[in-house]
Amino acid sequence: MLQRKIWIFAGLALAPILAIYAAVRLYPIGETLRLSLYQWNILSKNKPFIGLDNFRELVGDPLFREALLNTTIIAFGVLIITIPTALTLAALIYHRTQSRFASFYETSVFLPHVVSLVPAALAWKWIFDARLGPLNALLGWFGVAPKAWLFDPVLSLVCIIVLCAWQALGYAVLIYLVGFKNLPPALYEAARLDGASARQSFWYLSIPLLKPITLYVSVVTLVSGFNVYAQAFILASDSQGAPGRQVRVLVLDMLENSFRNYRVGYAASEAVVLLVIVLVLTLIQFTLLREKSGRV
């Protein structure tokens, strides 16, 4: 009797939440998968099933390929900057836990991760500005000719990577700090008694022991890199917001196909590509973790 009451409570309390969850998560995810197989155009009445045609078209679509290439470069660029920097910073911050500035170190690195994205991006936009920005002025001191940071197709990617890395760094440092705090102190004590220098124990103990964390942070950084949009929207649109000047990233291409060209099915197939990328990255993470778990 009591048992039954408990289950009635559980069912009644959980049902509305699961209903919401299904409506705002499961259903749209299913829709994305379904629409990607249809020629689903807002303007036309006919929305026929076309199998994998959308994906076939994507392969030859120069705009999509540009978007995919740019996004991949950004994601891996951010990764390459963020991981080594974060690992080093976390090691130093952890080493100086007793310093009276310890909370300043954490806060200053972490703050860019939490502040609103658009104002932060605007600050960087000013820094990179070709005419008014301090970056060109600074380079001018060293005799470097001013560059059109945000207009050059290669440099604008660099700018986006710098902005994204500046934001991603705080999260990575924080997760690494948790990792450092969980490392077994006895192991380091033993290494020290055996005559290992601090540098050696960093290379041969910390880095291997933190591998699961490195893996996790790498995947999170890559996934958020593949979803980059706001940063490109702010940095790489000129003062009139001319769309031609935007750095084409996946989400931008998706939104344009859906809301400017009204090709929702086609945009959904791009979303599926994004989903596959994320799934593959996660799968790689789990596989590598499983290999490691025997040892750590």
């Binding site: 705002v24 499961l26 100086r96």
Partner: protein, 292 residues
């Protein structure tokens, strides 16, 4: 050089080594302070620029403290744009999203954690699996759902995307399993407590810490949301502050001073809030790393 913070105390008795350790630590401190300041510099310039005259913004090297601080930029931004309405929209959206996410996570996390059954295990597995799917993947169908509800251009429409958080459900479930003993719930039930009473007076108080962390996380997530509000809001008065600012900066006549002023209006309260809630926030974010 790096490693456990306990080392430094052990080298007493060897003055030259002690000196070396001290100097290394000093160098590390200097580096970390310089790095931290460099990280903050873009934000500092942004706030400084907000108080500068157009002439001073062009000065090289840029000044950190304006010579001749002015409120002109703020005045003209506030009169030209519905900045306060945008802030209100963002605030309302973020608060409602926080309320919804903490409530749904608390209830479902508790039930998924303390009511063992095969069905619920499957339910939890599904939630966990969808947690890795980024919002961008399904936002377009979600947009059409909101459109069908006639909720475009409203806070309600914004909210649809931010009602639940898979990670929040996961986080609360973890905490329920680890910090709420079954015996406690049984004892309350034997004493005749109803299920609602157990949830409100036994479970919820024990979840205060993780719920606070989750709440702060949810608030900042909604406050800084960009892509979803950008597609859901298309009328000027329904923008959130992020979208408003982003579209404002593409205008013809916008200069750095006014743009910085508008940004500073957004930045200063969120930075202040962060400094106050830092502990909760760090806790919440740190727990995202414990997934595996």
């Amino acid at each position: 050089m790096t490693m456990t913070p306990h080392h430094t105390d052990d080298v007493v008795g060897d003055p030259s080594r002690l000196l070396k350790v001290r100097l290394t630590n000093l160098a590390i401190d200097a580096f970390l302070i310089a790095f931290g300041l460099a990280m903050l510099l873009p934000l500092v310039f942004l706030v400084a620029n907000a108080f500068k005259t157009p002439q001073e913004i062009l000065l090289w090297p840029p000044t950190v403290v304006p010579h001749d601080p002015t409120l002109e930029n703020f005045k003209s931004v506030l009169s030209e744009t519905p900045l306060l309405i945008w802030i209100w929209n963002s605030l309302l959206f973020a608060c409602l999203s926080t309320a919804s996410i903490t409530a749904t996570s608390a209830i479902s996390g508790y039930i998924l954690g303390k009511f063992p059954s095969k069905i619920l295990t499957v339910v939890f597995a599904v939630i966990l699996a969808t947690a890795i799917i980024p919002f961008e993947v399904y936002m377009i169908p979600l947009y059409f759902q909101v459109k069908a509800l006639g909720a475009l251009n409203s806070v309600g429409g914004l909210l649809v995307g931010y009602l639940v958080m898979s990670f929040g459900i996961f986080l609360i479930r973890q905490n329920v399993i680890h910090s709420i003993p079954d015996e406690l719930l049984e004892a309350a039930r034997i004493d005749g407590a109803g299920e609602f009473w157990v949830f409100f007076y036994v479970v919820l108080p024990l979840l205060r810490g993780p719920l606070a962390a989750l709440g702060v996380l949810a608030f900042f997530q909604a406050w800084t949301a960009f892509t979803w509000p950008l597609i859901v809001s298309s009328s000027k008065t329904s923008y959130t502050i992020e979208v408003g600012l982003a579209l404002f900066q593409t205008g013809f006549t916008v200069d750095v001073g006014r743009l910085s002023a508008a940004s500073a209006v957004v930045l200063i309260p969120s930075v202040t809030l962060f400094v106050f809630l830092r502990r909760h926030f760090v806790q919440g974010v740190a727990s995202t790393g414990l997934k595996e």
